[in-house]
């Protein structure tokens, strides 16, 4: 089940990337880093760090740009890798790592962007004190107990650029992580992250 889902997701990502690249041909690339407050259900506190890499982008055509007037757009395809953790008070700690392919629409005049991303991930819960009881009633303490889940993630986000500075933008993302094989099914985990993106490259982010 996990392998099949992973293969399907990979093929989808590959198809989207390939298709996008054929349309554009623009080769400007940019690496930036992100750091965010990551709250499961917003209020279970955590932190997330990651990197975004613009693999391809295109402006609207002249014709399209005239139509859009001042709101000319840049469409970007961005790959992101994120790692983070959150704390469920009085319960467990969770650690996760995911990779997403994001479709980002940038409106340079408004310095705004909206993002939708999808990708595979992995999630690990870590419980506090845990005891295992076997069929014969034998009890044994388990250290660092927890469970791994294949956890594809859907990201919907918005943000605003702060061009010309090391801190390039701030963002607000809604993340839905789907924990597979959680008990007897799939369970969504809703989280929000609020953070900034920064880059050590002095070039202006939006050309």
């Amino acid at each position: 089940m996990i392998v099949k889902t992973a293969i399907v997701l990979s093929l989808m990502l590959l198809a989207v990337t390939k298709n996008f690249a054929q349309v554009t041909g623009i080769t400007e690339r940019k690496l930036s880093f992100t750091i965010s407050y990551y709250g499961n259900m917003l209020i279970k506190p955590g932190i997330k760090a990651g990197a975004d890499y613009v693999i391809t982008q295109k402006r609207c055509s002249e014709k399209e740009r005239k139509k859009a007037a001042a709101n000319s757009m840049i469409k970007q395809l961005v790959v992101s890798g994120d790692v983070g953790s959150f704390w469920h008070p009085h319960s467990h700690v969770a650690i996760f790592n995911y990779y997403t392919l994001n479709y980002r629409i940038v409106k340079p005049t408004q310095q705004k962007f909206n993002t939708i991303g999808l990708g595979p991930g992995i999630y690990r819960s870590v419980y506090p004190e845990t005891y295992e009881v076997d069929d014969s009633g034998e009890i044994s303490p388990v250290s660092m107990a927890g469970r791994f889940y294949f956890a594809p993630v859907l990201v919907l986000g918005t943000g605003k650029f702060m061009a010309g500075k090391t801190i390039q933008s701030w963002h607000f993302n809604t993340n839905i992580m789907f924990l597979c094989n959680y008990n007897t099914g799939v369970v969504p985990l809703l989280s929000f992250d609020i953070g900034i993106a920064f880059s050590f490259n002095k070039n202006k982010f939006i050309p």
Binding site: S91, E129, V133, G137, I139, N183
Partner: protein
């Protein structure tokens, strides 16, 4: 001058730290622990809060299935009980923040009774084999608790059984709901309370063949029972639960309502075998096996699990040490409707069985 300022700041910080440390009350008797029990493919958390001084633990079995352990911690009753005993709020397999990987086909009431047995073994392992254990089951928790007590010699592990509006016989529950809606509905019509609503409800249940109530009809009856309670709550027959306090808000914060609700609901509703087993389980014929001191607590206006279930259990349980209390201003959850009286009855019962 600068060195004097630094010295002053340093001394202030040290004094502040000392004050904070000295003000911290040493309290080894109150615990706030969480333990995960790994059993048969599930990792199930138990939250323990309360006073360890009496070495007495009350394991709570929540309702649903699909609810979570900490729901029973909300309100004044639990706060009162935690002053005297350690309350163990148990999430149960597939619900609350329980995790795991297991087949839905393997889930049975019997397996969940074995999970409970595993919890008891762990509590005795961690806190000592001489701890006093009581079991409290509400609603579905009453069904699960009963299944546990009649299995093997498991009841010998406990000091007492507290069943609160427990659904230990669902076919009987369904029949009694029809009877209760008709009887109390007519009384309310005579009193002129919510007349049209009661007439509609009575008319709907009058078409049900009580000798052959299907699972689907049982589910509909559960909805009608909730409506009946709502009418009585609005007309002042059931005491309104107290407003949510900051303590309750903190408990809600510790829950994960989205994940827990979806996990619990899917676990229950999408697992047809388990669902059917619960909806057809009837333990009345086996209640005689219970020889444990028993306290039966019911709400007078509990339409979801009518009080007749409690009276029938009272008549059937073999124990000579048994008591049935009916709370006159309560529905399905006297823990919320009459929290003080509810806590007082439990404290009295537990203290009588040291």
């Amino acid at each position: 001058m600068k060195s004097k300022q630094r010295l002053f700041i340093s001394i202030t910080i040290i004094v502040a730290i000392l004050l904070v440390v000295s003000c911290k009350k040493e309290d080894n008797t109150h615990i706030s622990d969480i333990i995960y029990v790994r059993h048969a493919g599930a990792d199930i958390p138990a939250y323990l809060y309360g006073n360890l001084e009496n070495n007495t633990f009350i394991i709570t079995l929540h309702g649903g299935p699909g609810d979570n352990g900490l729901e029973l911690r909300q309100g004044k009753a639990a706060a009162e009980l935690e002053k005297k005993f350690v309350m163990v709020y148990w999430d149960q397999r597939g619900q609350g923040l329980s995790e795991g990987k297991f087949s839905a086909d393997d889930v049975t009431i019997d397996l969940m009774a074995e999970d409970l047995h595993a919890l008891i073994l762990v509590l005795k392992y961690k806190y000592g084999s001489n701890i006093n254990l009581f079991l409290l089951g509400h609603s579905w928790g009453g069904e699960l608790g009963t299944a546990f007590l009649i299995k093997k010699n498991y009841q010998n592990l406990l000091k007492g059984w507290i069943e609160v509006d427990g659904a230990h016989d669902i076919p009987k529950v369904n029949k009694e709901v029809v009877k209760m809606i008709t009887t109390i509905g007519n009384e309310q019509i005579t009193l002129g309370n919510s007349t049209k609503k009661w007439e509609a409800l009575i008319s709907e249940v009058s078409t049900i063949d009580t000798g052959n109530i299907s699972i689907k009809e049982g589910r509909d009856l559960n909805k009608k029972a909730r409506l009946a309670q709502k009418y009585l709550l609005n007309d002042g027959f059931i005491q309104k639960p107290e407003a949510v306090t900051w303590r309750d808000a903190g408990i809600i914060y510790h829950q994960d309502f989205l994940t827990a609700a979806l996990s619990g609901s899917w676990f229950y509703l999408l697992n047809n075998n388990f669902y059917n087993e619960i909806e057809t389980a009837s333990y009345t014929g086996e209640l005689y096996k219970i020889e444990l001191p028993t306290l039966l607590l019911w709400g007078e206006y509990d339409f979801i699990v009518p009080p007749e279930l409690g009276f029938s259990a009272y008549r059937t349980i073999s124990s000579s040490d048994k008591k049935m209390i009916v709370f006159q201003k309560s529905g399905h959850s006297p823990i919320n409707n009459q929290p003080k009286e509810f806590a007082d009855e439990i404290i009295q019962f537990v203290e009588q069985h040291p």
